[in-house]
Symmetry: C2
Subunit: 286 residues, 2 copies
């Protein structure tokens, strides 16, 4: 079998190498583009990390489709300009998140979409990186509405004094941030995380990563057209009151209102972004 016909495997042939060699993006980039200091599970510095990011983005972006078989390791690693070792470690990372699966002789193939672990912080981040579309926003808030009101309820029942104090502090910090979006994000996230943690349920705690992604995304959107976060302050206060006064139902309801408001904000920002400008998204904040 003469393989002259170039069997048309994805990612075979010449592709721009991942990052030809000595990359200077590391430092500079991380500073200017807001460190998503979140719960990423791989290093952006390491080569296999960058390969994983590259492949992961391409899978979530739909450029690599479920069922597709990647080019053989030799070929693919050559195409990416990295060693087989680096590529294989990247593949292991992605396989661990349910995105792909390797077998001898058969090769490495993209697993069907229903096996992808969208609850993994990285997978979700790649998902939003690819397409922050309405559907994803809807999905995200559907899940949050299932979790967070119930979590607030539980917190109102059983949050310890320390947790309540943390909650109060987070609220004060949000208040102090005023309209400065930069300063707002962190305590906002801390507020929601504290509630999630206060459930004392590790499974639910792990969903905190989802919330983080949600907030990061909504913040990035509202950066372009600042609707201002201040109007959500009283909503947060209501949640806080419900919890510290031990009124589960009040806390639950307040959280629900808060989420609906938040979703509307995101939708509005998304609409503006879509209709108005198609500014290069990756550019900056002018």
């Amino acid at each position: 079998m003469d393989h002259n016909g170039e069997p048309k495997r994805p990612l075979s042939g010449t592709r721009p190498p991942i990052q030809p060699r000595n990359f200077q993006e590391g430092r500079a980039d991380q500073r200017s583009a807001r460190p998503p200091r979140g719960s990423r599970t791989y290093s952006r510095r390491s080569l296999h990390g960058r390969v994983a990011h590259d492949l992961g983005s391409r899978i979530l972006g739909g450029k690599l489709k479920p069922g597709q078989v990647l080019a053989p390791e030799d070929e693919l690693s050559a195409a990416l300009g990295v060693s087989r070792t680096a590529l294989r470690e990247a593949i292991k990372l992605l396989a661990a998140k349910g995105l792909m699966e390797s077998r001898p002789r058969t090769g490495t193939r993209i697993r069907p979409r229903e096996h992808w672990n969208f609850l993994d912080p990285d997978v979700l981040a790649w998902h939003f990186e690819a397409e922050p579309v309405e559907r994803s926003v809807r999905d995200l808030f559907q899940l949050r509405r299932m979790i967070e009101p119930a979590a607030a309820d539980m917190a109102a029942q059983q949050a310890g004094a320390a947790a309540v104090a943390r909650l109060q502090q987070a609220f004060r910090d949000m208040d102090a941030a005023g309209d400065d979006g930069e300063k707002w994000e962190e305590p906002d996230l801390r507020f929601h995380q504290t509630i999630i943690q206060a459930t004392g349920n590790e499974l639910i705690s792990s969903l905190g990563a989802i919330i983080e992604t949600a907030l990061t995304m909504s913040f990035r959107l509202s950066n372009d057209n600042p609707t201002g976060q201040r109007h959500s302050l009283p909503l947060h206060r209501a949640v806080l009151n419900g919890i510290q006064s031990r009124k589960p139902q009040k806390a639950r309801q307040a959280m629900l209102v808060l989420l609906e408001q938040a979703e509307q904000d995101v939708r509005r920002a998304l609409a503006v972004r879509r209709s108005g400008t198609q500014r290069p998204a990756a550019g900056g904040r002018n």
Copy 2:
């Protein structure tokens, strides 16, 4: 520098090798012990897969504690009796699930527990493998009560004809299974998965893996003292009715009842197992 003082790093020194060489466990074991054909993301055949399983179990089992630094790669791979390649790939796999983190000079250390992704099927499986204790059961059902009734509600609103048909089929298969636990498990899982999928929300779909683990566990427990699943048949029927007759509230309520019943069953089985016999758990089904 005489390293005679044996710095007491975990996993240094002599340990039983992972599985010295040619292992014949693969085939035989997989057949007898019910293939958890679930959503595992690694191969049990491969060496790095076994190493990952070994380390993962030890982390979730508490034998390796957060903050601990593993022995250097050379040392650890020697101790485990595998090559550095295999070890490194295992580490990448575990790192992708939030369990550990590697840095030059510092070494590889177990991440704090709150970073562990308990929503990952493998992590959850290792968790239950280690200690199917009451607390984990409580956590699991708390989460299910947040998700599944809401999912049933959504399904009642928007499930397509195909989904309803699948649901009916699953129900019929459960009915046909009667008291045969072996035959019951699969359609039961299918029933719940179908509902989860019918939400049309990929994030929620990913939670299906959690359900799977829950059912697998409860099945394994109820295997020893068969309470019989038949009594849950009418409960499933109620859910099915709610969905196919497009009554969201009914479906939601029915699912809630179903879950409470299921949790009680598991708790009962757990209590019996705990008090009565300490039979070797890994043994069989005598």
